[in-house]
Symmetry: C2
Subunit: 212 residues, 2 copies
């Protein structure tokens, strides 16, 4: 039996930084969930990617489901706000606003060379129909999204004289087209479909007199 080997002195002391650690975990989880999917990524994958111990991971997120819900609330929702809600609200015209959003996403895709898809759609399709909590979380993001678009549409020429329900339908149609285009972009690994959607939606917005 070998003699006990002296344990080396700990050189670097640990520093507790729960905020930063939580951010690292969410960063890793968000990235892995989007590129590989929720069920296809294990907790150990998250631990490795975030370089976090199992204890720390479990301390901040008790279960995998908690982590998934946190990703939706803290990452996917803000992603939708940054890429869609804020730009379209501040755009000088709805048509150019939507076109710029879609084209810039397409450019990002082609620049990066790969498509992981729409963050919201990815988790929605995989988790929405299976689990009620996930569905509620996803649904609230969709609701915020379509409400913002609807508000913007109401500020257009045709929007001022249309019923609130019709504005919502138009808003949802924009989401339909974008989501579907993103799905195809993901399977084709190209931004082409987003540019096509941009072009067609631009004309659709003009034809419907959504000016301004």
């Amino acid at each position: 039996m070998p003699v006990a080997i002296a344990k080396p002195k700990k050189t670097v002391p640990r520093t507790n930084d729960p905020t930063h650690m939580k951010k690292r975990i969410l960063d890793a989880a968000e990235s892995l969930f989007q590129t590989n999917g929720y069920h296809a990524t294990s907790m150990h994958d998250v631990m490795d990617a975030a370089r976090v111990s199992g204890g720390a991971l479990h301390h901040h997120f008790a279960t995998k489901k908690d982590l998934g819900l946190a990703v939706i609330h803290d990452r996917v929702a803000v992603s939708v706000r940054e890429t869609w809600i804020d730009p379209v609200r501040d755009s000088s015209s709805l048509a150019t606003g939507v076109r710029n959003i879609l084209n810039s996403i397409a450019d990002g895709i082609d620049r990066r060379g790969s498509v992981s898809g729409c963050p919201l759609n990815n988790l929605a399709v995989e988790l929405a129909s299976a689990d009620a909590d996930f569905r509620k979380a996803v649904q609230s993001v969709f609701a915020e999204w379509q409400a913002a678009l609807s508000e913007r549409i109401k500020r257009t020429r045709a929007g001022t004289r249309m019923k609130a329900n019709d504005a919502l339908t138009a808003a949802r149609f924009l989401i339909f087209a974008y989501s579907g285009a993103m799905n195809l972009a993901k399977t084709e690994q190209t931004g082409d479909s987003l540019r096509q959607a941009s072009h067609t939606l631009f004309q659709w917005i003009r034809e419907n007199d959504f000016v301004g």
Copy 2:
């Protein structure tokens, strides 16, 4: 120690029926993949649902991936043909054809009370970006779908005098809207979004003079 119990005589002899057995496996796999997702369903789930032994399952589909690819080729592809390609090809007018397809899907959803989503999109979103073989399989179905829609558009009034590429773009736009509407229908568990898409697309088709 109890005495050996005489093994009861096998009463019902086994009958080899590989075609029927393969069908049962594909039935179960298709259903489970659509309702719960590919990664969320295990091989044992398929065995239980199809009431098939592990040996039989492995005999017909060596790996889970093989089973998934078979579901795409033999089930999802024909599902797209039955619900989209054939009806739109035989429709007297593009506008009513598309409207009928979307509305009948919406009716089916509300009658059934639950939405598992578009079969193709479900597997596309979950598997396309992760695995090259899955992506190719999904992509070929999309290609067949948009080609059929493009051919139908070319037979409309505006279609006869437009470039082939524009017809394809219009065809893809229909797919975009449908896919996105189905995604939202899945998270909202309602057919409403499909009816909205039906209404908006109907007008869009008319505005673009896709008559006939």
